[in-house]
């Protein structure tokens, strides 16, 4: 902090005006000048943020208020369309009662989808971590001169449309597709396996394929920041490769692992298209599919809104945790 305050102090003294500040400035005065940005009118910086603020209020906050008003709202008796109730006093939780019955009730047909979502997302994120960690580790430690090239290759999936990457797998996994032909000709399978007919394995691996680039990037960013000198110190003091990794690298990359798990699993929770393209069967449908189906079928708008709110509640912890960690990282970088 001390280095930051010095220029603020000189700035104060260099300013010509009728009221010369005391030199050296008091602690309070220095803080005040650093905070106020000295020369700018009060409205100057808020004016820059204003368009973005208006935008977020109208198109980010307001939409979720509409979701609340629909989830706690009424239903048109004739057309069964949702009727939003704008006044919170008149809100009615019957949509949540209905959703609860559909999830936990005796014939709760939505319950399995919630369980499935957690199982698929957990399996897919762990697989992502297991594959991505060695890759990111290699790029930071051993890639040498090829680092740039490998990085470009790792970034490439970001520039290929998600739909195209899934389309590619649909082509490969069809019953007469390359995967089946290869496996049959090698002798692993006797006859083509119906990969695209509601297989949990296909959906999970599809999720891994779709979101692993985020994991690689998050881990790369974290591992790249690990101080090389600490590793050298560990080796100098006689730790083996494996001990150095387990006792130094791994603990230091804990933050990155957590961040990676959050950035891969959050979009997976909201995914329905991977499932639609690679399975399309209700046997593998996830929460995202429930929302999509509710949006698509008439009279289910209220259920869609309730599902959205339930998802926000379920995902609040990882989302807030991630936001907190990025803010902390930004504060540390600014120091």
């Amino acid at each position: 902090m001390a280095t930051k305050e010095a220029p603020a102090a000189t700035r104060e003294s260099g300013r010509a005006g009728p009221k010369l500040p005391r030199w050296p400035p008091t602690r309070g005065a220095r803080r005040a000048s650093a905070r106020a940005g000295a020369w700018h009118p009060r409205w100057f910086w808020p004016a820059f943020a204003a368009p973005g603020m208006v935008w977020l209020v109208v198109l980010f906050l307001l939409p979720f208020y509409v979701v609340l008003s629909i989830a706690f709202g009424a239903v048109d008796p004739l057309f069964r369309t949702p009727v939003p109730v704008w006044n919170p006093v008149q809100w009615n939780p019957f949509q949540f009662q209905l959703l609860y019955d559909r999830v936990f009730g005796p014939d709760g047909f939505l319950g399995p989808a919630f369980v499935r979502t957690f199982v698929y997302v957990a399996a897919a994120s762990v697989l992502c971590l297991l594959v991505a960690y060695p890759v990111a580790y290699y790029v930071t430690r051993h890639a040498g001169r090829r680092k740039g090239l490998i990085l470009v290759a790792l970034l490439a999936p970001f520039w290929v449309s998600y739909m195209m990457r899934m389309l590619a797998w649909v082509n490969l996994l069809e019953s007469d597709g390359m995967v089946n032909r290869l496996l049959v000709s090698v002798g692993v399978l006797r006859e083509p396996f119906p990969w695209l007919a509601g297989q949990p394995v296909t959906v999970t691996l599809g999720l891994v394929y779709g979101y692993i680039p985020y994991m690689v990037l998050a881990l790369y960013a974290g591992l790249d920041r690990v101080d090389q000198r600490l590793l050298e110190a560990a080796r100098d003091l006689g730790a083996s490769r494996r001990r150095t990794f387990l006792l130094v690298t791994l603990p230091l990359s804990r933050q990155a692992i957590l961040a990676g798990l959050v950035v891969t699993s959050l979009p997976m929770f909201g995914d329905y298209f991977t499932n639609d393209l690679l399975s399309g069967s209700p046997r593998t449908s996830m929460v995202g599919n429930l929302v999509n189906d509710a949006i698509g079928s008439p009279g289910q708008g209220g259920q869609a809104a309730a599902l959205v709110l339930v998802m926000i509640a379920l995902l609040a912890v990882p989302m807030l945790g991630y936001i907190r960690s990025t803010r902390r990282a930004a504060r540390e970088a600014g120091r």
């Binding site: 808020p46 890759v135 490439a156 520039w159 990457r165 394929y209 080796r235 909201g270 809104a305 990025t326």
Partner: protein, 289 residues
């Protein structure tokens, strides 16, 4: 053997194999899909010879001659350009404002912006759909609604990227300019904006490439077949009756994002010339991304 295993300077062969395996796994499926867009036959899994049939030779089914596919292509590019033009200026100004204005309100909006970044897209898409169908009914579903939704979703990229850059720039250069007599606006225009330009540029490229790919928001906020871009077309026909024309469409899409990225990278290198060595340009660009 024992000696080789305990050699501290041994190359990590196993790790190396794994990395190359990973790269092959991530790139090969897409490469095969691109390859089959040049197939002479209808199949997307058995090779029947090279042709440009699905790009323009086929008089009915090729991308060039199918008005629907062609429309989807142009529509995607148009949405991407418009979203970039709206989201980047608002986002950059927002980043500058939030960075310099320290207040409770600014912190609140920063939080909102980060929330819009981590929120799964489907939740925002449903919320916006309800907004446009229940409250702001003046906004028709279709291009306008899609543009508004995409800008909301993409706004966080320029803000996050520019704020990271602003942190590393600090306020000293601007203060020096003002000590030398520049007005706040002049200091901003002649000092801060040029320093920010790599970040502005990187975020524009990112937003453009991301909007071309966007699927969830665009699909929910579309009105009819005329407002469905390429990603939605691929989704609609991937499991029904696809011909390699779909692969051709996807390949064109891929090429357009790759061209945008390549151009972006070259310009980025020009903008940051002298700041870093050539070696780390890729890393810098990657870090921005």
């Amino acid at each position: 053997m024992r000696r080789w295993l305990t050699d501290p300077w041994r190359k990590p062969r196993l790790l190396e194999t794994l990395v190359w395996g990973y790269l092959a796994w991530s790139v090969l499926p897409v490469a095969i899909a691109v390859w089959f867009s040049f197939n002479a036959g209808r199949s997307r899994s058995s090779w029947q010879g090279f042709s440009l049939r699905w790009y323009w030779q086929d008089p009915v089914l090729s991308v060039w001659h199918d008005p629907e596919l062609q429309h989807a292509l142009v529509y995607s590019l148009r949405l991407a350009v418009l979203t970039t033009l709206v989201a980047v200026p608002i986002g950059v100004a927002f980043a500058i404002g939030l960075d310099r204005w320290h207040g409770r309100l600014a912190a609140g909006f920063n939080f909102q912006m980060l929330l819009s970044f981590v929120l799964p897209e489907i939740l925002l898409a449903v919320a916006l759909l309800f907004l446009f169908t229940n409250l702001l009914k003046a906004v028709q579903l279709g291009a306008t609604a899609q543009l508004l939704g995409l800008v909301t979703f993409q706004l966080s990229y320029p803000v996050i990227i520019c704020r990271a850059r602003l942190l590393s720039i600090g306020s000293e250069y601007e203060e020096a300019a003002m000590d030398l007599g520049a007005s706040p606006v002049k200091a901003l225009r002649h000092v801060l904006l040029p320093l920010l330009s790599p970040a502005i540029f990187a975020s524009a490229v990112l937003v453009f490439a991301d909007v071309i790919d966007d699927f969830v928001l665009v699909r929910y906020l579309s009105a009819d077949a005329a407002s469905e871009p390429m990603s939605v077309k691929i989704y609609n026909s991937a499991r029904s009756s696809p011909t390699p024309a779909l692969n051709a469409l996807a390949t064109i899409m891929l090429c357009s994002s790759l061209v945008a990225i390549a151009l972006g990278f070259l310009v980025y290198r020009r903008l940051t010339r002298g700041e870093r060595s050539q070696e780390s340009t890729v890393e810098g660009f990657a870090a921005q991304v």
